[in-house]
Structure formats: structure tokens, C-alpha cells
């Protein structure tokens, strides 16, 4: 514990952070709530300091070294969590837990799943190929509207609709990418930023096709062998399936020669090109795959809500997904899943402070950039 005391002494300035947050919040939330926020943050800083100095590890060690038997059990527990079967256990838990929850929790979990897939897709562009995409939501919108329009007007069923949504989003990405990916990174960010806004404005104003601000309603639900998916639980299992497939696909692509080439492009584009990598083609590939994935989630979203309107596809959504990738750790699949879970769940948990969550976002991102720029679980530059 003495080392913890030293750490507090050394990093005392960290405790200014909760104080600062408390003062910032006080005018909005009142003194009592602001004090609570400051105390929670202070506890967080204390915990971080404890982790940093290894106090927790030593405490755990003391606890487990009580008897040899306990130590063995502890080690077995650690081994079990690290071994691949734990992934199946985890998956089984994800299948079973929602059965005992109410529909609100199931909806939050479904929303989390959607953002996990979106963030994993965006990670290909931002985390792997190193391109800043600020208009990712455009492809999500293209997917959603493709299904909304083709199903309500032409009666296209859900599964072909998902293929169509992915294909149209991929085609859009191909056209945009062909003309913009030759540009240097900063310009690509600006073009995608514009693209996101243009897409939303078009959806908002092209009344005859998109229904304008009123959106499109009564979108048909998906059906599977005659069974129509309509309860929150059905959609939860569908998105869980999509998450599992996405994680599997991402792991394989990232571990392949294509994934390696992306990382090479991110690290040094000129050197990658000189080593025989067609950097333009590979950046285009990342952009198209990511956009197709966003299109799939868009179709899912349209089918689940049975309603789409432009206000679901704002710039804020693009930023939110980008935050998940950056917060969790660019290039790390578990990190990005964690990022998506945190950014969907935390606002739900702190619903009382909903109006102030942008303050929380801002504080969190500033702290991340100062103390852990590689993200919560990102490897960053391995040392």
C-alpha cells in the first residue's frame, strides 16, 4: 500500500481531473449530482493508480496464496479464461443471458451488437489501412434505405435484401474510393465527411424516393423458414449471429497477407508501394469491405425498426463509431468490441445524465489521448 501512497503523491495532479469535471458539471446538474460525479471519477482515478502500481495484483496474489489449493484453483481459473473453450462459454452465456432479461435489456444488447459490427467494419479502414473515414454512416444509411425502398416498393424479402444492401453500399464505396483514394489521407477524411452530410441531405430532400424527413415506415420484418422475426429476442439472436460471423471474418482477414499489407500501408505507404504492394487497390478493398458491412447493418436496422428516417444517420453517428474504434484501440478486435460496449452501455446506465453525455465523451477522449493514445486494448507500436 505504501507504493500506492507514493503513486498518489507523484500523480496527485490526476485528482484535479474529477475536481475539474465536478466544477464543469455543477451549473447543469446541481451541486449534489456534481459531487457524485466527481466522487465516481475520483474512485476511477484511484483504481487506475492502483492498477498502475500493481497494488491490485499484489492484493490478489496475497488472497490466492493463502493456501496451495486456492492457488491452484486461481491458476486454473486464469487458464480457463485464456483458453479457446472460454470463447464458447462466453458465447453460450451471450445466448442464454437475454432469456432472463426484459425487452429493454435485449434492445440495448441488440444495439450494442449493431455497433460492434459497425465499429469492426470501420476498423478495417481506420485501424488497419490507416485512412480517416468521417462519413462511415453514409454506407450504413445506403444499406438501410436500399432495403427500405426495395422491400416496401418491390416486395424484396429480407435475405436477398441484405445482399442488395451490402452490394449497393459496396458499389457506392467503390465509386467514391476510385475517385478519392488516390488523394492523401487528410483529403480523404474531408471527402468522406462531405459524403456523409450529402447522403443525409439527399435522404432528407428526395421526398419521392426516400420519403424525406418522414422517412419510410412499415418495412417488412425478416422471416426464416416461415417464422417471422419480430420480438426483440429474435433480433438479438440475429445480430449475435452477425457479430460472430464478423469477428470470425475479421480475424481471418487481418491474419492473412491482405491484413499484413494493410498494416504495412498504415506504417509507411511509400515503403509498402516499393515492396510491391498495390496500395491503391488494397485501400479500396478495405473501404469496400467496410462499407458492405455497414450496408448489412443498415439492412438489419431497417428491418428491426420497421422504419427509417434521415435523423438516424447524422454526423454524430459517424463520430460515435469512430470513437468506439479509437477508444477501444485501433487494430485490436477485443478492444473495439469493448469500445462499442462501453459507448452503448454507459449512456444507458447513466440515463439520468443523458443531456451531459457529450461532456463525458469529451472528458473521456481527452483523458484517453493524454494517458493511453493507443486505446484501451490497442497494441499500438509494440515495444
Amino acid at each position: 500500500m505504501s507504493s500506492l501512497r507514493q503513486a498518489i503523491k507523484r500523480h496527485g495532479s490526476f485528482f484535479l481531473v474529477p475536481l475539474w469535471a465536478g466544477i464543469l458539471c455543477a451549473p447543469f446538474t446541481g451541486i449534489a449530482a456534481a459531487t457524485r460525479i466527481a466522487l465516481v471519477l475520483a474512485a476511477g482515478v484511484l483504481l487506475a493508480a492502483a492498477l498502475r502500481t500493481g497494488t491490485i495484483t499484489r492484493l490478489a496474489h496475497t488472497l490466492f496464496s493463502g493456501s496451495a489449493r486456492m492457488q491452484g484453483a486461481g491458476r486454473r481459473l486464469v487458464a480457463l479464461l485464456a483458453a479457446p473453450p472460454s470463447a464458447f462459454l462466453f458465447l453460450a452465456a451471450l445466448c442464454v443471458i437475454p432469456l432472463f432479461q426484459n425487452d429493454y435489456y435485449r434492445d440495448v444488447l441488440t444495439l450494442t451488437g449493431m455497433y460492434v459490427v459497425l465499429a469492426l467494419g470501420l476498423n478495417l479502414v481506420v485501424g488497419q489501412a490507416g485512412l480517416l473515414n468521417l462519413g462511415y454512416v453514409a454506407f450504413y444509411a445506403v444499406g438501410a434505405y436500399t432495403y427500405a425502398i426495395s422491400s416496401t416498393r418491390f416486395g424484396l424479402p429480407f435475405w436477398p435484401g441484405m445482399a442488395a444492401g451490402a452490394a449497393v453500399a459496396a458499389l457506392a464505396a467503390l465509386l467514391i474510393g476510385l475517385s478519392t483514394l488516390k488523394l492523401r489521407g487528410d483529403y480523404f477524411a474531408i471527402v468522406t465527411l462531405g459524403l456523409g452530410e450529402i447522403t443525409r441531405i439527399v435522404l432528407n430532400n428526395w421526398d419521392s424516393v426516400t420519403g424525406g424527413p418522414n422517412g419510410i415506415s412499415r418495412i417488412p420484418r425478416p422471416s426464416l423458414a416461415g417464422y417471422v422475426l419480430k420480438t426483440p429476442l429474435d433480433f438479438y439472436y440475429l445480430i449475435l449471429l452477425m457479430v460472430v460471423i464478423t469477428v470470425f471474418a475479421m480475424r481471418r482477414i487481418i491474419a492473412s497477407r491482405i491484413g499484413r499489407a494493410w498494416i504495412a500501408i498504415r506504417e509507411d505507404e511509400v515503403a509498402a508501394e516499393a515492396m510491391g504492394i498495390n496500395t491503391f487497390k488494397l485501400k479500396l478493398l478495405a473501404f469496400v469491405i467496410a462499407s458492405a458491412l455497414a450496408g448489412c447493418v443498415g439492412v438489419f436496422f431497417a428491418a428491426k425498426m420497421a422504419f427509417v428516417s434521415p435523423e438516424s444517420f447524422t454526423f454524430f453517428e459517424s463520430v460515435l463509431i469512430l470513437c468506439m474504434v479509437v477508444l477501444g484501440g485501433m487494430g485490436s478486435i477485443p478492444g473495439i468490441i469493448l469500445g462499442a460496449v462501453l459507448l452503448v452501455m454507459l449512456p444507458e446506465i447513466f440515463r439520468d445524465f443523458q443531456d451531459y453525455r457529450m461532456i463525458g465523451f469529451g472528458i473521456a477522449l481527452v483523458l484517453m489521448m493524454i494517458f493511453r493514445p493507443q486505446g484501451l486494448m490497442g497494441a499500438g507500436k509494440r515495444q
Binding site: A249, G259, R382, Q383
Partner: protein
């Protein structure tokens, strides 16, 4: 047998003639050094040959094929590889991954291959690992194959750059100041390595300031000054060439 031939190769940046009308021929399994004072246009010449710059004028033929204006990755695929003067490794990756990246243009697995991980893709991946380890052994870095490139010593980073270039399976290797920052022992090892690469059937063009290296291993030396070729010949002839001594050796680098 002729491997590379540039004719009237020029690269201008506005009014600056970085490379002006350079004719150069490189035969198979030869070591040709390009020397000249700083700013003579040596690296610009490399950038033109590897496609990073588009030449303002002139042609580049490689293995009887016009490669002028081709994209760098296509030129690499044809068999020209290079290293960089200011080391440009993929710093966050291991040594082995750095060399494996270079095999990209020699391998085929696509997105669907990677997803299905067919036996063909698995075999290709395994062969890439074996080849990378072979190359690392060839340059003497096999014991550091799992090490992160950015953590290597300066000399080792230079050797890894050469290993990575060899990973593209070149017929012609362009080395941009490979001995820069090396101590005498490392320089000696580097010279042995360059000869070994030549003996494996790869021609080499070498930009180097260390005259001991240049005079020791070159079959031929080309001297550039202000973008213009002022002399060419056997190292012995270059040593005695008055124009070269005036332009370069006599002023900046007293003869060792």
C-alpha cells in the same frame, strides 16, 4: 547480359535539373556504384528507376521491357527492389513480418481465400514464413526474427531493409547508402553480404559515400555531379579521373 538501361533519363523539379540526361547500363550479376557529392541526384535517379518519380524525359528499360512511368509496385513485381537512405521499415512489425510483406507481390490469396483458409492458402502462408526465415538467415538476422523492427540496432535495421528487399525476389537490387552509420566491422560484414547477394545472381546498384566500400566491391562506378554523369568506369580509372577528383574526391572526401 544487359539487365537495366536508362537513356537520356532526366528529372526536373521546376528549374532544378536533379537528374539530367543520364545514360546507364547494368549487366546481370554486376555491382555498379553511383557516387557523387550530396545533392548530385543519386537518390532521385533511384526514385525514377523504381517508379516513385515520373521521369521528365528519357526511358528506362528493364529486361528488354520499357518500364518508364510504371507504378512502383508493378516495377517491384518485375524484379527491381530497393532500400531507403533514411530507413523505412515497418517499425511496429517483427523482422519476419517485414520480410513476409515483401512476398506480397509473389503470393495470391484473396479475401475469400483468407476467409475459407483453404489448404492452398495455408500452404502459401507457410511457404512465406519459411522463405522469410531463410532470407533472415542469409543476412544474419534469423535469431531476431520475432523482434520488433523498430527495436533493432541501426546496423541490423539496415540489414533488415536489405532482407525485406530480397523478399520481393528481385533481379536488380538498389541499395541507397547501406553503410551509412555503420562501424568498420559492420561495414565489412555488409560488403561480404553484398558480394553474396551478387553471387546469388542479383545485380546491384549501390549509392555509397564510403569509398572503401565503393572501391572494394564495385565492378563499375558511375559519378554524378549536379544531376549529370561526369565519369564512368572501373574503380581504378575513377580514382585517377581528374574531373572526378575535382568535383568530388578532391574536395569533400580526401582519398583514403
Amino acid at each position: 547480359m544487359l539487365l537495366l538501361e536508362t537513356k537520356n533519363l532526366s528529372k526536373h523539379f521546376g528549374g532544378l535539373k536533379a537528374v539530367e540526361a543520364v545514360d546507364m547500363r547494368v549487366e546481370r550479376e554486376r555491382i555498379v556504384s553511383v557516387i557523387g557529392p550530396n545533392g548530385a541526384g543519386k537518390t532521385t535517379f533511384f526514385n525514377c528507376v523504381t517508379g516513385i518519380y515520373q521521369p521528365t524525359q528519357g526511358t528506362i528499360r528493364f529486361q528488354d521491357r520499357d518500364v518508364t512511368g510504371m507504378a512502383p509496385h508493378d516495377i517491384t513485381a518485375l524484379g527491381i527492389a530497393r532500400t531507403f537512405q533514411n530507413i523505412r521499415l515497418f517499425g511496429g512489425m517483427t523482422c519476419r513480418e517485414n520480410v513476409m510483406i515483401a512476398a506480397h507481390c509473389r503470393t495470391k490469396a484473396g479475401v475469400f481465400g483468407a476467409l475459407a483458409r483453404t489448404s492452398r492458402v495455408r500452404n502459401e502462408e507457410r511457404d512465406m514464413v519459411y522463405r522469410a526465415v531463410d532470407i533472415l538467415r542469409f543476412v544474419g538476422l534469423d535469431e531476431k526474427q520475432e523482434g520488433i523492427a523498430a527495436n533493432l540496432s541501426y546496423g541490423d535495421q539496415r540489414r533488415l531493409e536489405i532482407a525485406r528487399a530480397l523478399g520481393t525476389e528481385p533481379h536488380l537490387l538498389l541499395l541507397d547508402e547501406p553503410a551509412a552509420g555503420m562501424n568498420p566491422l559492420e561495414t565489412q560484414l555488409l560488403m561480404d553480404l553484398i558480394r553474396k547477394i551478387r553471387d546469388n545472381g542479383v545485380a546491384i546498384i549501390l549509392i555509397e559515400h564510403d569509398m572503401k566500400v565503393v572501391m572494394g566491391i564495385s565492378d563499375r562506378v558511375v559519378v554524378l555531379d549536379h544531376g549529370v554523369k561526369i565519369a564512368e568506369g572501373h574503380p581504378r580509372e575513377i580514382r585517377e579521373d581528374t574531373a572526378v577528383i575535382e568535383a568530388y574526391l578532391g574536395k569533400d572526401h580526401p582519398h583514403h
